[in-house]
């Protein structure tokens, strides 16, 4: 077979990725790079638009200063190439010849129009895996829709489920749809990779960001199809199993997440909570007398929820998040604090796991921490995070070193705005 031998302990070491994505797909290439691939980000002259996305280091806009870009483009090389020119396309095809993956997020049809669709690329290199990441996939009535992360979030069904019941549907403030679509691109490209290594055959992977997001709406589709019931947002409550179940609770200095579950699944947690409340004389007769073992949430009515929420709500209000978290850890209660970003950054659990990678980005006045390995692999660990590259940082390296272009040719291509 056509497979490459892997001797080093990094899954995609010796594999090459050409990454044409913008903000819609850039996290896909980051994950491929984090398991060892050489990812070459191909940007149009002037750079990827995502380099202008806030927030910026020291709140100073500039092409090397976007934290949004930096976070999602770690461990990638960068070259500039204008694939809308004839020369650019020829260069791209040369690069495809000895690459293993091409990932892109242009409007469906764009690559085909340039003569760079999967049929053309696979004719050059039958091993190539080409992955397209777009809002709705390559075909269908919405495929040419003008994209936004907000739109993908809304059309996935998730947005209708987030917010106050009588208020506007909401998104999560840090854009999620493109990132989840890109992750789906990573997972599916790797499935295609396994097949390619086994058979020598590459293939085309068509990712739909919206379809990737629909999966987060767990529960709503069967409920609608079978019971004709449209679940909707419930603010602090998860409107599930007929009755709203409170998941967000106020405490002394913020909020915690906790949910009343029934039956054996939550027996230990419910008993521990009652025990803790009794120790502080805060368990009322209702809490002390619930038959937790036979508590069936399908049968729970509003009255039961109200009787539960009152003493529990009071108990939580008498403690800080930290006190509740520590109590939960000591007693194994299914409860976690609603953290601020600052608290996530200072989590003792993440510190214990040595999660953060310290990264020195050239041009910034200090090194900062980045999210580290998304998984700990004993034999093939994720590579350490390296900073995102500046625009065209590897032009010489790739064009001269790999493709053998002369200085003269490089100068000509620059003049013609090809690179």
């Amino acid at each position: 077979m056509n497979s490459k031998s892997t001797t080093s302990a990094s899954i995609l070491e010796s594999f090459k990725v050409l990454d044409l994505t913008d903000e819609k797909g850039m996290l896909c290439g980051k994950f491929l790079a984090s398991i060892g691939a050489e990812v070459i980000k191909i940007e149009p002259p002037g750079g990827d638009r995502a380099r202008n996305l806030p927030p910026f280091v020291n709140d100073t806009p500039g092409p090397g200063m976007s934290l949004y870009y930096a976070g999602y483009n770690t461990n990638k090389k960068s070259i500039t190439l204008n694939i809308e020119t004839e020369d650019g396309r020829e260069i791209f095809k040369k690069l495809v010849k000895d690459s293993d993956f091409v990932i892109e997020s242009f409007s469906p049809g764009y690559m085909r129009k340039l003569g760079l669709g999967y049929p053309e690329l696979s004719a050059i290199n039958p091993r190539i895996i080409m992955t397209s990441i777009t809002p709705f996939g390559q075909e269908g009535p919405y495929s040419q829709y003008k994209p936004s992360d907000l739109m993908c979030f809304a059309m996935s069904g998730l947005m209708y489920l987030v917010g106050d019941p009588d208020g506007t549907p909401l998104r999560i403030s840090v854009p999620q749809s493109y990132s989840l679509g890109a992750a789906e691109g990573f997972g599916s490209s790797m499935i295609a990779h396994y097949y390619r290594e086994r058979t020598g055959e590459g293939q085309y992977v068509d990712v739909s960001i919206r379809d990737s997001m629909i999966k987060t709406t767990i529960g709503i589709l069967p409920e609608c199809e079978v019971n004709d019931r449209v679940m909707k947002r419930g603010g602090a409550y998860w409107v599930i199993r007929h009755k709203p179940n409170k998941m967000l609770w106020a405490c002394k200095d913020g909020w915690i997440t906790f949910r009343l579950h029934g039956g054996t699944f939550a027996l230990a947690t419910n008993r521990q909570l009652v025990k803790w409340m009794s120790e502080e004389n805060m368990a009322d007769d209702f809490m002390l007398n619930v038959d937790w073992e036979n508590l069936d949430m399908d049968q729970a009515d509003d009255e039961l929820h109200r009787k539960f929420e009152e003493p529990v709500g009071k108990f939580f209000m008498s403690h800080t998040r930290q006190e509740l978290f520590e109590g939960a850890l000591a007693r194994n209660i299914m409860l976690l604090p609603v953290s601020t970003v600052e608290e996530v950054a200072n989590s003792p659990q993440l510190e214990f796991r040595e999660y953060w990678d310290e990264v020195d980005q050239p041009g910034w006045d200090k090194g900062i921490k980045y999210p580290g390995a998304f998984i700990k692999a004993s034999e093939t660990p994720c590579v350490k995070t390296q900073p995102a590259s500046s625009i065209g940082e590897h032009n010489e390296d790739i064009y001269k070193g790999r493709l053998g272009f002369s200085n003269e040719k490089l100068a000509l291509l620059k003049t013609a705005n090809v690179i």
């Binding site: 927030p55 709140d59 739109m151 403030s173 997972g187 295609a192 293939q203 997440t257 194994n332």
Partner: protein, 404 residues
């Protein structure tokens, strides 16, 4: 028949609830043989989630369970029975991957920790998904994605800055990690095929999920700013929001990033006089007067349906999308054209549309072919076909309660 990408891959699946089963379902749909291990004493918790076939509760009647476990085989093994552990270990010898998402320590207690598995099958890949990873001061806490989304920061980052945060629906982090797990698993399978080496994969859902919040985390580390929720606003677009439309609880998004899009928008809505106000000329002005801008826009959207807003604006090259409900999704023409939902007979004359994956593979398409298995539905089949167990042994084990 077309071949499947993961044909021949063998998975022994101890996962339950969401984050685990929603990982192994990718593998099952792409052709791997997934043997799900449960017992009558400890069934997958989703088996008791409604809706049920004919509205009647039962361990093999949950529609959600079927959706989450399509294409998998189910074996019932009583892991408290010494012979039960023995059967599990024989399946470990068969498997390429052992997957689990129990509380850290639980597999070790059963004698099925990574060190134990390695002794049985030196090239085994053990995939472990847990809330915070296998070790650390918080790792042993039992929690679900419902709580974890709060710890990760998704909750504090959802809602309006001056009001209580809003937890995203359900168990958000259970749904953000499966695609990442799948990518690593496919890679580990390839590595094993080439080198003969297995390994232990330890996924902390907390750690994996934070990758979706990188911009906010980096903003903290670089600028010492602890970002918070900002409704539906976006720093680099105005308008950027969700607008109430005609009908009961109907909404449409509108996002405008450039002057060109703004000009198209003005034209699309028929050049109303307010649009020529200098307070809306240029991005900086629109951003400054965003609340008022949104009010004007909603005066327009409230009189037409969300679908009309979307169709009209998309026709003018502006990003707009209906805030879809479950009912919308079941009728959505794009969802239909992708074949994302696959209707399967689920028994007793009922059908259920099973959700697909977020991608299509041109040469090895995934398939949703069988409904989620009844508890223990394939116990005999797995014993005979995979373990090559003689009839008398199966009967002996069966009668002594090993398969309960």
């Amino acid at each position: 028949m077309q071949s499947k990408a993961l044909e021949g891959v063998k998975i022994l699946d101890f996962t339950w609830i969401a984050a685990g089963p929603l990982t192994t379902i990718y593998l099952a749909k792409c052709g791997a043989t997934v043997v799900k291990v449960e017992s009558m004493a400890k069934p997958d918790g989703v088996r008791t989630s409604p809706p049920y076939i004919k509205g009647k509760a039962g361990l093999s009647r949950s529609m959600q369970f079927s959706n989450d476990n399509a294409n998998k085989l189910s074996i019932a093994i009583n892991l408290k029975h010494p012979k039960g552990i023995e059967i599990a270990k024989r399946l470990v010898a068969w498997a390429d991957i052992v997957a689990e998402n129990m509380r850290p320590g639980a597999m070790e207690k059963l004698g099925l920790g990574y060190e134990d598995l390695k002794k049985i099958n030196p090239s085994i890949i053990m995939f472990r998904s847990s809330f915070a990873g296998q070790e650390g001061p918080q790792s042993r806490l039992s929690v679900t994605g419902t709580e974890l989304q709060g710890l990760c920061g998704f909750t504090i980052l959802t809602g309006y800055p001056d009001r209580d945060p809003i937890p995203p629906w359900g168990a958000y982090t259970d749904l953000t990690v499966p695609a990442l797990s799948v990518g690593m698993l496919a890679g580990a399978l390839d590595y094993k095929r080439k080198t003969g080496k297995g390994q232990c994969l330890d996924l902390g859902q907390f750690e994996a999920s934070l990758h979706y919040l990188s911009p906010a985390l980096l903003d903290y580390f670089a600028n010492n700013r602890s970002q918070t929720r900002n409704g539906n606003k976006c720093d680099y677009a105005a308008p950027h929001g969700v607008f109430r439309c005609k009908g009961d609880d109907r909404w449409c998004t509108i996002a405008i990033f450039t002057d060109e899009e703004w000009n198209s928008f003005v034209k699309a809505i028929g050049n109303p006089s307010w649009t020529s106000d200098s307070r809306f000329a240029g991005f900086v002005e629109r951003k400054k007067n965003e609340e008022e801008l949104n009010r004007h826009i909603e005066e327009w959207t409230i009189n037409i349906t969300a679908e009309e807003v979307m169709n009209l604006l998309q026709g003018h090259g502006i990003s707009a999308g209906v805030v879809e409900t479950a009912a919308d999704l079941l009728q959505d023409p794009q969802v239909k054209s992708r074949g994302f939902l696959k209707k399967l007979d689920i028994g007793e004359g009922e059908t259920l549309s099973h959700q697909g994956l977020g991608f299509q593979l041109s040469k090895t398409p995934y398939e949703t072919s069988t409904t989620g298995p009844g508890l223990g539905e394939h116990t005999e089949q797995v014993c005979r076909e995979i373990l090559k167990m003689p009839d008398d042994e199966f009967i002996e084990l069966f009668t002594s309660g090993v398969f309960e």
